[in-house]
């Protein structure tokens, strides 16, 4: 029971991160109908920029509560701006000229961009994994079991609290943007029918650019959290995390932001429980198998609408 509870906490934490990345996939897929293969790498860049900012600011675990919080807010801000600049450029350079062209061209272009980002970071920062001492330390013991079958303590670390709270705040902000503002309305109308939206005077290029920027900002936060949570990052983390987050987006119903979050949580929980109870080596297989199963049996996702084949 205690073990289960611990895994549940870990799963929700990981799932929050996947969910934040998934929102970027789901928004982009919803609006221009393509998988932004470079999105996982933008997430990776967000993590790297956070790492660099943290080292540059000289924050360590011993800096004290308020300095750390202040510094992290600054780091998040920087990472968001830089990642947004990346994703904006990716869209401008690799996707916009190919919009509406032959279907495979944007796909190749997107994967090409993904390779470019990975290789750029690998060359600029060398290929080695970058470990960092934990910054957000400490936590609470929620439950502990005495020594009969070996002691086991359920921990909720401050890091996990930070991740979950940040995710909730961001979710609230983004849901508000999508449902309440004219920008969100423009995005939803482009999702429905881009041509019509353009005829009604919506600047499609701007709307799409903003969608990419929003997705990148969330991915950057996820990148920071992922890096802080695992204490290490490298240029290749974006590939796997990206595929898992895309799975989450599809599972939740592509185009749906709450769906992406739910999908992220499910994927995070599956991965953590699979590692805990079955085998940690095959945790990626579990995630991939999940992806295949979802696409095959539930292609519309949990919160998506089923598609009727038009004849």
């Amino acid at each position: 029971m205690e073990y289960f509870l611990q895994q549940l906490i870990n799963g929700i934490t990981l799932g929050s991160i996947y969910g934040l990345i998934a929102i970027g996939y789901t928004m982009v897929y919803g609006i221009i109908g393509m998988i932004n293969f470079a999105h996982g790498d933008v997430f990776m860049v967000g993590g790297f920029v956070s790492l660099i900012a943290i080292v540059a600011l000289g924050i360590t675990g011993g800096s004290g509560f308020f300095p750390i919080i202040l510094a992290l807010v600054l780091v998040v801000f920087i990472a968001m701006i830089i990642a947004s600049a990346y994703n904006w450029t990716v869209e401008r350079v690799a996707y916009r000229p190919l919009r509406g062209s032959f279907r495979l061209a944007p796909l190749i272009s997107a994967i090409g961009m993904s390779i470019v980002l990975q290789e750029f970071v690998r060359i600029a920062q060398d290929g080695r994994p970058k470990p960092l001492q934990p910054i957000v330390t400490g936590g609470y013991e929620i439950m502990s079991r005495a020594a009969a079958q070996g002691e086991f303590i359920v921990r909720l670390s401050n890091m996990q609290i930070f991740i979950i709270i940040t995710t909730l705040i961001l979710m609230a902000i983004f849901t508000a943007i999508i449902t309440r503002t004219s920008l969100g309305r423009a995005q939803r109308s482009c999702e429905q029918d881009m041509k019509m939206a353009s005829l009604l005077g919506i600047d499609i290029n701007k709307t799409i650019s903003i969608t990419f920027i929003m997705g990148a900002a969330l991915a950057a936060v996820a990148g920071l959290m992922f890096f802080l949570y695992y204490g290490v990052t490298d240029f290749y983390v974006g590939f796997l995390a990206g595929i898992k987050a895309f799975t989450a987006a599809v599972l939740g119903g592509i185009g749906s932001i709450p769906g992406a979050m739910i999908g992220g949580l499910i994927i995070g929980l599956i991965e953590v429980f699979w590692s805990a109870y079955f085998s940690i080596e095959y945790k990626d297989v579990a995630a991939f198998a999940m992806l295949a199963a979802v696409l095959i049996f539930l292609p519309q996702g949990i919160l998506g609408k089923p598609e009727i084949e038009k004849v």
């Binding site: 998988i35 920029v49 990346y86 090409g112 390779i115 470019v116 750029f120 060359i123 992806l291 004849v311």
Partner: protein, 464 residues
């Protein structure tokens, strides 16, 4: 990352040289370049005892930012503001005249391919490169069946390549000797080749079956996932596959039983030649040449058979196919299976050439390179695959030749490090330039009176 983003707004108001707008745009580009390059390039992290430190490289950043901004400015002045402004985005460039010259090019290429090892100036390195390119041509032709003809987007094609390679590695090192004794080993390649093909085809059907209903990007991502599953299993199922270390000591092919060794009973002794290691390389070259030509021959035949026409029809319109009584399930599965079979053959060849297989050779990047060859060549075009394979694989090798750059550039500069970066960027640019690939003509599979090539603008890209 010296890619210059184009701005449409500036492009439209070109006629009088609008200096303010250009300055604004160039400044914006510079800021953007600084944001992108600054942190990652300018602040290099490196490990010092238990922590990380930063190395500052602002000089390098400013050079690159200046290059990007300067490039943008040059673009403004030289391209977008040219007196006779032609459309800046030249998507519809003239097509390569491959089809019209095709009649002469193909026999010439074929002749060169056949006599390549004996041409003057051709050394071992070139034959090795030719073997590599031919392997990718064969893989490209195999994938062309799935993606180019049937229109099914497969991002996990390398899995079948892996199945073929591991099938050969395991059979030749463990199972065949155990079953039939060591005497079988020189023949292992020829025995295993068909088995590897059949196994890969079987896997093609197994992986193909669940994904039949999927379309487009979903199919792509699921096949990608399957490819990764195969790789993760290869890494972790150590008892069977040797785990991350892979399988070594794979027997080299023999000349139909004659091993390429020095001394009695070897190939050189049998034919009364002086022993040279290159004999084996040349033999390998002809093996892959024959395999590749076989792939091409089969594909060309299949295109003229009902199954091949059904593949192309499937790519054009699946619903119409069903209304004409075509079993789309079995049609798709045959495409998967036959495509996979050729990857299995190629995998076997790869294993015998390397003498060693490990999961590292079967990463997603390989699948992507093969797909890029097919798309770049022009979907469904056989000659396009040849051109694209030479361009892509050849350009990888060109980076090995750039050693003179080491003299010019700062110390520690290794051009080989940059080859994936350059190829990734090149693919993005080529897709902008020619989204349909190099060869943009489709040849009809049956003719009533006269042959007319079909522009691929009309050809659908498939839904699956």
């Amino acid at each position: 990352m010296a890619i210059v983003p184009k701005s449409n707004d500036v492009m439209t108001e070109t006629q009088p040289l609008n200096i303010a707008a250009i300055a604004k745009d160039v400044l914006f580009t510079a800021i953007l370049a600084f944001l992108i390059l600054g942190p990652i390039l300018g602040l290099k992290t490196f490990a010092i005892t238990g922590s990380l430190a930063l190395e500052q490289r602002w000089g390098m950043v400013s050079v690159f930012v200046a290059i990007v901004a300067g490039g943008r400015l040059a673009y403004h002045l030289l391209v977008w503001n040219k007196p006779q402004a032609k459309p800046a985005r030249a998507i519809s460039m003239p097509t390569l005249p491959v089809m019209s010259f095709g009649k002469y090019i193909i026999p010439v290429v074929l002749l060169v391919a056949i006599f390549l090892p004996f041409l003057p100036g051709v050394d071992r390195r070139i034959v090795d490169l030719a073997i590599l390119i031919l392997t990718y041509i064969m893989l490209g032709w195999g994938l062309n069946i799935v993606v180019g003809l049937a229109g099914l987007l497969d991002l996990g094609y390398v899995a079948f390549y892996a199945v073929g390679a591991y099938a050969y590695a395991l059979l030749a090192t463990i199972y065949l000797p155990a079953w039939f004794g060591d005497g079988i080993v020189p023949w292992a390649f020829f025995i295993t080749l068909p088995i590897a093909g059949i196994l890969a085809a079987l896997w093609g059907v197994i992986l193909g079956f669940p994904v039949l209903r999927l379309r487009g990007d979903y199919l792509a991502i699921v096949t990608l996932a399957f490819g990764e599953i195969v790789r993760v299993v290869l890494i972790n199922w150590s008892d069977f596959t040797g785990g991350p270390a892979g399988i070594g000591g794979i027997p080299r092919p023999s000349f139909f039983g004659l091993p390429f060794t020095d001394g009695e009973g070897g190939f050189a002794a049998f034919f009364g030649l002086d022993f040279k290691p290159i004999h084996r390389i040349i033999f390998l070259y002809y093996v892959i040449l024959v395999l590749a030509l076989f792939t091409n021959f089969v594909t060309m035949r299949l295109r003229r058979l009902p199954v091949g026409r059904a593949w192309e029809a499937l790519r054009e319109d699946e619903i119409a196919c069903r209304s004409l009584g075509i079993n789309t399930t079995s049609t798709k599965l045959t495409a998967f299976a036959i495509g996979a079979m050729f990857a299995g053959f190629a995998g076997s060849f790869f294993a015998t050439r390397q003498g060693f297989v490990s999961p590292e050779s079967f990463v997603f990047l390989e699948s992507f390179i093969i797909l890029a060859i097919v798309v770049l060549g022009g979907l469904g075009s056989q000659i396009g695959v040849v051109i694209a394979a030479i361009v892509i694989i050849g350009s990888f090798e060109v980076f090995r030749e750039l050693n003179f750059l080491k003299a010019v550039m700062p110390a520690g500069f290794d051009p080989v490090q940059y080859r994936m970066l350059a190829v990734g960027a090149a693919l993005v640019l080529i897709m902008r330039w020619k989204p349909r690939g190099f060869v943009t003509r489709r040849e009809p599979s049956v003719i009533l009176k006269e042959k007319k090539a079909i522009p691929t603008d009309l050809v659908a890209e498939g839904h699956g």
